[in-house]
Symmetry: C2
C-alpha cells in the first residue's frame, strides 16, 4: 500500500485542492474490498465519526471515477455501486441474487469472442459488461461462506503467473525435444540455449509464485480469477506435438517461431490491456522475453536458409523462407 499514496498524488487532477474531507472519503473508499453503494460509504464515513453530506460523497465518487480511481458499476438494482480500480483490472461479475454479493472473474476467451462479434458488426467496442446473475455456492448449499478476502490483485498475479509458468514449461519441453531431434549442430545449440533460458526463466517464475503464496496462505485454494483455455497446457504444447520424426531442422525452427510469436502476441496484448498491477508486469516482462527468443529464432532460421542455399550450389530449388519468417 506504500506506493498507493504516490499513485493517488499522481492522479490528482490539476487545479484541485487537497481537502481533508475528500482525502478521508478516498481513503475509506480504497480501504474497502467489494462494490459499495454511495449510501454504504456515507455510513462508513459517519461511523468514522465525521459529519458529512451525501452530496459530498456523490461529488467525490464522481471525482474518483473521473480520476480513474473508481469505477461505477450497475447491477440493475436501481442504484449504482462503486469499486476501486487501483491495481484492479476491469473484470466480469457473478452476482448472487440471494445474498447480493458479487464475485469477480476475467476470461480472455470471452473477451476474444466479444471482440470477434463486435468486429463482425463493425462496432467499435469501448467497454463490455458481463454479469452472470444466479445463486452462489454458499446460498445454494448450506452455509460455508468460505473465507473471502481475496484481494483481486493477488488472484490476478497468481493466475498470470500460472499461465506464464505453464507456457514456460511447455516451451522448455518444446526446445528440449527440438534440440534432441535437430541434426545441424549449430541449430541444435540454439535450441539448447533456448531450453536453458526457458529453464532459468521457469525457475524465476516459480520463485515468484512461491513468494506470492506467502502473501496469502490460502491463495492457492482460492477460485480461478483469470480464465484462459489457450494456456492451460502452455502455448507451446501444440508446437511440441508437431515435432514428430518427419520434421527437419528448418521445420523445427519454423514451428518454434510460430509458437514464440503466438505467445509473445498473447502476453503483450493481454498485458497492455490491464492497468498497473503485478499481473500486468508479469505479462509484459514475459512478452519481452518471448520477443528476444523470437528474434533469436528468426536470425537462426535465416542463417540456416542461407547456409543451405550456399551448400546446394547456385541454382538449387531456391526455397524462400515461408511467409511470416521475414516479418519482425
Amino acid at each position: 500500500m506504500d506506493s498507493a499514496a504516490t499513485f493517488l498524488d499522481s492522479l490528482r487532477p490539476a487545479g484541485s485542492k487537497r481537502s481533508s474531507k475528500r482525502d478521508l472519503i478516498v481513503n475509506v473508499f480504497l480501504r474497502q474490498e467489494g462494490h459499495l453503494t454511495a449510501d454504504t460509504l456515507v455510513e462508513l464515513i459517519r461511523g468514522a465519526d465525521e459529519r458529512i453530506s451525501r452530496a459530498t460523497i456523490y461529488r467525490t465518487l464522481q471525482w474518483m471515477v473521473d480520476a480513474g480511481i473508481a469505477r461505477k458499476v450497475d447491477f440493475g438494482e436501481g442504484r449504482f455501486r462503486f469499486e476501486h480500480s487501483y491495481r484492479h483490472p476491469r473484470h466480469f461479475h457473478l452476482i448472487c441474487r440471494t445474498c447480493n454479493r458479487s464475485f469477480e472473474f476475467l476470461s480472455s476467451d470471452i473477451e476474444s469472442l466479444i471482440e470477434e462479434v463486435a468486429s463482425a458488426r463493425s462496432f467499435a467496442p469501448r467497454q463490455s459488461v458481463l454479469q452472470i446473475h444466479g445463486t452462489c455456492d454458499a446460498c445454494r448449499t448450506g452455509r460455508p461462506p468460505l473465507a473471502e478476502g481475496g484481494a483481486t490483485e493477488l488472484l490476478f498475479a497468481r493466475d498470470a503467473l500460472r499461465i506464464a509458468i505453464a507456457t514456460e514449461r511447455s516451451g522448455l519441453d518444446f526446445y528440449a525435444r527440438a534440440a534432441r531431434m535437430t541434426k545441424d549442430p549449430r541449430g541444435r545449440r540454439v535450441f539448447e540455449k533456448l531450453a536453458e533460458e526457458e529453464k532459468e526463466h521457469l525457475g524465476t517464475l516459480e520463485k515468484r509464485y512461491r513468494e506470492l503464496l506467502q502473501q496469502d496462505p490460502q491463495l492457492e485454494s482460492r477460485p480461478t480469477f483469470l480464465f484462459f483455455k489457450g494456456a492451460a497446457n502452455g502455448l507451446f504444447a501444440a508446437g511440441a506435438e508437431q515435432l514428430t520424426k518427419g520434421v527437419n531442422d528448418r521445420d523445427a525452427l519454423m514451428i518454434g517461431i510460430k509458437c514464440e510469436r503466438g505467445s509473445h502476441r498473447f502476453f503483450k496484448r493481454y498485458g497492455e490491456k490491464f492497468e498497473d498491477s503485478e499481473g500486468k508486469r508479469i505479462f509484459l516482462e514475459f512478452a519481452d522475453e518471448e520477443r528476444a527468443h523470437l528474434a533469436l529464432l528468426i536470425r537462426e532460421y535465416r542463417a540456416l536458409v542461407q547456409r543451405q542455399r550456399a551448400r546446394s550450389g547456385r541454382r538449387g530449388k531456391r526455397q524462400r523462407p515461408r511467409a511470416g519468417a521475414s516479418r519482425a
Copy 2:
C-alpha cells in the same frame, strides 16, 4: 402475427379482466421493434389519441413482464427499457453510446464459456447480461444507417437454418465418404441410406431457407445474429477429416456415432434454451432427426461387433465396443 393473438390470450393471468386500455398498451408495445422506455410508450399511446396515465403504463409493463410478454432491460442509463419477448429469444446487446441504439446478438460460444465459468465457481446461473458498449458503424463512419428492421425472429430462424444446413452438408459429405470406404456391404448400405436421408433433409432445409428469404428480401445481407463457431463448417467436418485410409468399418461407424451424438446434443440443448420461435422449432426437429440417425448407427455398430465376434470363432481377442457405444 395471426397466432400472436392466441398466444396473448393464453398468457392472460387468471383473474385478470380484459381492458381496452391494457389491450391498447400491449398492442402498441408489441408492434414496436426496439427497446422502449416507459416514457416512449406513453408518447406512443398519447399519439394514438388516447389519454393515459403514466402509472397505468408502468403497471401494464410490469404485468407484461410477469406474464412473460416483455423483458425489462437495463442499459445503465438510469432508467429501464423494455423489449418484447414473443418469439424473441434472450440475447446479448451491442449498445451505441452515440446514437443510443442497440443491436442484438446471440453467441453459443460465449454462452458455453459462461457456463464453464459458473460451474468452475459452483455458481448456479439463472440469467446472463452481456453488453458491449461502444460506437456503432453508422456513427463512426459517415451516415449509412443501413436499413434496419430485422425482426429478430427471422434472423434467428435464418441463422438456425444456416447452421443446420452446414451440419447437414458436412453430414452428407461424411456419410458419402464413409460409404465409399466401407468394405462390409451391409455397413455400406447403412451409410448410403444415411447419406440419402441427409441429402433429402438437406433439400427440405434449403427449401425452408428459400421460403424464409421471401419474407424479407434483404434477409441474407443482414448481419449475423447467432454466432456459433462450432458449426461454421458443420458438426461433421471434424469426423469427415478422420476418415482416412487407415480407418476400418468399425472405426467409421464409431466416428459417425460421435458426430451424431455431438450434433444431437448441440441442437437439443440449444433448441430447448429458446422460447417458442421458428428457430427453436428448426433446432428441435433437427435434433430429432439426428437422434434417429444415432440410433440406427448404434444398432449397426452392435450388429457389426456381433458378427465380427462370431466370425473370429470362440476366443478371438474379444474386442469390446469402446466406451460410449453402449450408452443410448
